[in-house]
């Protein structure tokens, strides 16, 4: 099963669709995921995901917007989508009965206050 950061990258790439590349994915992870993301960590994780066959990457044509430099485009494969779904369903299943899931378990201290 994929890890948490791998899941964030898969989700960001799926969310962006055909516009998924390093800088755009970092922005999605930081704004939606609410956490800092270094490009170094992102590219190393992309390499790992590509080695596992969960994403495909390729270089785009250079664009003026980037000083004439190419983008590393990313596409989630069918296997990548299945792995991301597995992670998502596991998180949903294990969260049932908790205060942060459906709220039937132990209450959070903030809720009690």
């Amino acid at each position: 099963m994929v890890g948490e950061f791998e899941y964030l990258i898969l989700s960001a790439a799926a969310h962006l669709g055909e516009d998924a590349y390093g800088a755009a994915m970092r922005e999605v992870i930081e704004t939606t995921g609410g956490r800092k993301c270094s490009l170094g960590a992102l590219y190393i994780t992309l390499d790992r995901l590509e080695a596992k066959g969960l994403v495909e990457t390729w270089l785009s044509a250079p664009t003026q917007q980037r000083g004439g430099r190419a983008k590393r485009m990313v596409k989630v494969t069918g296997e990548g989508a299945r792995e991301a779904r597995k992670f998502y369903e596991t998180v949903i299943r294990i969260s049932r009965g908790t205060a942060w899931g459906d709220g039937r378990g132990n209450r959070l201290p903030e809720d009690a206050a």
Partner: protein, 228 residues
Amino acid sequence: MKGQLGIGGMRWRCVEEAAAVLLAPTDREVMLGDLAETECSVWRGLGDVVSLAARRQLDLWKGWRPWAASIGLALPASLFLMGWSVAASGSVAGFLGEPTQLGAVWFALSRLLLVTGWAWMAGFVVGSVSRGTLWASALACGTPCLHCLSLWPGHGLSFLRLLVFLLPGLYGVWSGRRELRLGLSLAAFLAAAGALAFLISGKGGWMYSSSLLWPGLYLTATAKRGSV
């Protein structure tokens, strides 16, 4: 998108570009492009570049190649070849003192050829086994040389004498980075010459000897079959 950068900002962007030299060409292209279109600070950009370079290096060190090239070959080979360079250059000096002695000519030339061949072979293996961590191999080779030069300045060991093995070694590294593999005949010849050099010196234990013999065996094992 980034706004217009002032002269100071552009100067700092140059720092990012300079740091990006640490990256492979594809990584550099993609990373600098990403940084050019995001609004992060120069420090963060610099952190991104350095973190990718550091992670790439760490990834390399998870394999056996950098360890074999630096600790397993560059370090023991530099110790071995330093002694051989001093001996070979001493033989040449002796021959130049008495140029009529045919035995001295043969002795000097054979030593010189062995050192040159062995250094080239070791350099070739270092260059082909771990191209991404040459800095570590250079450090492993250069540290004993500098240490010995500082210990015995002008007493038999001079920088010029070290060049006897450093120059062919560097040429070997350059060749190894380009070629990766040798033809079988040349590899077998170099392996035999390497073994001969070790047998003649006859120093060190089995650990030392295996660290000196493996480059020749590696070249033979990975040689291009059916080619010279």
